[in-house]
Amino acid sequence: MNGVSGERVLLLRHQGRLWGVLHDAVRTVTRGHDGFRVWLREGDITADHVLGVIEDLRVWPADGVLARFWGEKVGGLAILGTTPVVVVDPSSPPAIFRSVSGPESSAEPASDSDLGPDMGKTP
């Protein structure tokens, strides 16, 4: 694959898989009663765990074959150790991420804030 770039990525675990979100696309992260909510520039996603921020993670573009056989838009692909990581497209996260917002939790936090202390280290 061509077009590999080093990115700052927020690493998540959700439904047993590793996922990434480009750090620049993240506004803030809040903890809910059943996991985490990651607020993006456009909407939000849920995650079972927030693992940390990885600096300079090599992200490959998601090429044609994956796009042909997987209906989700993908921001890129990465490898952590030997485990594949899907870097989500913040404008169109995979369906598995779309949050089921309850009326008490659907409001975005009043202001952006730094990521919490449990998110500053790689796993």
């Binding site: 694959m1 044609g64 074959v65 056989f69 997987w70 209906g71 030997t82 594949p84 598995i96």
Partner: protein
């Protein structure tokens, strides 16, 4: 057990066939298929794959190969082949897919790698524009001749 195309080609008997006529014969479900050898980069034991939610049946998932992400396809599903016996030593064929000008590496999970064969183009009965380029008879058995150049975002 990485095997390079050069290694696999060395095992064939007889004269040296033109590179374009050489194929890697694989078993995928109940089908025997001939993959163009010049598209094969490596053959490895079946890679550990991370499935993707909501993916089509042909997409096994993602794997790591050489430190890079690799899309892995279930080749028998891709062909619509009936499942064969449980393979004793399933393998992943790492191959270049897509047109020459924009090809990418993919993993093709197959049940077995059989041998390298020579198939002159004249012997191939044309099969269409899809991934199955045509059919040929080898040793009295039907073999599907594969084109990996059409395996990409379209087709």
């Amino acid at each position: 057990m990485p095997v390079s195309p050069a290694d696999t080609a060395a095992g064939q008997s007889g004269g040296v066939a033109p590179a374009d006529d050489r194929y890697l014969l694989v078993q995928a479900g109940d089908e025997k298929c001939a993959l163009p050898l010049d598209r094969v980069r490596r053959i490895v034991r079946s890679l550990s794959v991370t499935p993707l939610p909501g993916a089509s049946a042909e997409l096994k998932g993602l794997a790591e190969f050489g430190g890079e992400p690799l899309t892995v396809l279930d080749f028998s599903r891709l062909l619509g082949a009936a499942p064969g016996a449980s393979p004793a030593y399933p393998v992943t064929v790492i191959a270049w897919a897509g047109p020459d000008e924009s090809h990418e590496l993919v993993g093709l999970q197959v049940d077995a790698v059989l041998e390298v064969v020579s198939v002159p183009a004249d012997n191939i009965a044309a099969g269409g524009d899809g991934i199955v380029r045509g059919d040929v008879s080898l040793g009295g058995e039907p073999v599907r001749v594969i084109s990996l150049s059409v395996l990409g975002s379209v087709g």
